[in-house]
Symmetry: C2
Subunit: 235 residues, 2 copies
DNA sequence: ACACTGAATTAGGTTAGACTAAAATATTAT
DNA sequence: ATAATATTTTAGTCTAACCTAATTCAGTGT
């Protein structure tokens, strides 16, 4: 029944799956300072061509009330309504990951894909009930903070392990969920959020030697992997 | 990310939400004898206009391997691939209803809408895990049989209460889930699947007087309500 | 056999969201 | 300051799925 698609969406603006994806990408690429996001960056992130992005941004920004503010040749940022929907999607995604992991026994590397698909379609009731049976969880399986309902989330002060200083203890706060193979490798190495690590050495190609507490042997990882692990200073 | 939509679908044919809806409607309207379903009937069921249906049927039936067999001016029926996907959707729908009701504590009348939306998007893994935590349920909250995985379901020998003979005990096997208001009324009257009823009287406008076992007073219901309750002979 | 009626199809149009190729604008390097 | 390069936008297509208006077809009744 396609007459009125997704009639249950919380936000006022009926957003398509596609628009949802743009909004979430703008949120994530803009980061805490809500910087202008470029056409290129969006095209890259969404796996589509730049003219498609330009077209969509023109369309979105010409609708009133608008989801985004678009400045031709400069970039785009979220308007209030767009920010609301984007954070709602982030909440959906992270709640779903927690749910899939804890209730449906999905493994670490399986949750992202399913959550990415379902986040667009669950109703507010579904969101509420899942949160309730999980006891309003704060953190998803990869260490990301689950924003509160109707609330703007926040960006943590975390940085890629790849650019952390040598011999300075760091605590893993989260890992990127966007690559299942990386996640399996990270799990194998015991690098869950909460674990404290110290970089012993970096070689010319960006490979790291990392020491974990209570383990004799160091762990080796390539640049790419170290780029999907996020850390902060150990208190 | 819209590059390859619904890449997880079990069936070989990547079916859109819209095609899914056609397949399910053809299955349900065709019934156990898999009768040809008319353009009109489909348009009515899907809430769209007949030319849209003709166009879709032409498109679908020209694809190889085909999901449907379409005979111009006569009607359409499911081809094997279409039947597989349609039953898969029915399984998704009924499993989801059971899950929403039992785990997420949705009420009887709330499950249909959510299941109708999500049935298109859950992966095979989701289906399997939900079935597992529910203990492979046989029946959904409205009394419908949940088909087995990969299996063709079956149509029960049930008939609308509205056309059951007078003073002949009948057992409720299922109730239609397509109207939330009717469901609330049915629940209020205590007419759950499994309950045995006897029609005492029918008036000229089709209203029924129904007696429930162990209750003194009879229950009154209109024709419409009696059309969404399905019964079989009491053994 | 033929006209009538209802059902179905054809013809042509719309919108959303993608695409390619070409043009325009910005940025960087000399 | 200007040329070279990279980014972005414009112009024009395409597909999926819907729409309305007009036409054709099939079945029924005389």
């Amino acid at each position: 029944m396609l007459v009125s698609p997704n009639p249950q969406k919380t936000s006022v603006h009926a957003t398509s799956e596609s628009v949802d994806d743009y909004l979430k990408a703008i949120l994530e690429l803009g980061g805490s300072e809500e910087a202008l996001v470029t056409t290129n960056a969006l095209a890259e992130r969404l796996g589509i061509r730049t003219p498609s992005v330009t077209g969509m941004l023109q369309k979105l920004s010409s609708e009133r009330p608008t989801l985004v503010h678009y400045e031709k040749h400069r970039g785009v940022r979220l308007a209030p309504a767009g920010k609301r929907r984007a954070w709602e999607l982030v909440r959906h995604h992270r709640l779903l990951e927690r749910f899939l992991h804890d209730v449906l026994k999905y493994s670490w590397d399986e949750v992202h894909e399913e959550a990415e698909r379902l986040e667009h379609f669950i109703s507010e009731r579904f969101e509420d009930r899942v949160a309730a049976i999980l006891g309003d969880p704060e953190i998803d399986p990869h260490g990301h903070v689950i924003p509160h309902k109707y609330a703007q989330g926040m960006f943590r002060n975390e940085v890629e392990l790849a650019r952390w200083p040598l011999r300075t203890p760091a605590t893993i706060t989260s890992v990127s969920d966007r690559n299942a193979a990386s996640l399996r490798e990270i799990e194998r190495l015991g690098l869950k959020p909460g674990v404290t690590v110290t970089i012993e050495d970096v070689n010319s190609s960006g490979s790291l030697c990392v020491r974990l507490p209570g383990q004799m042997d160091v762990v080796r990882m390539n640049k790419n992997l170290a780029g999907s692990i996020f850390v902060t200073a150990t208190p």
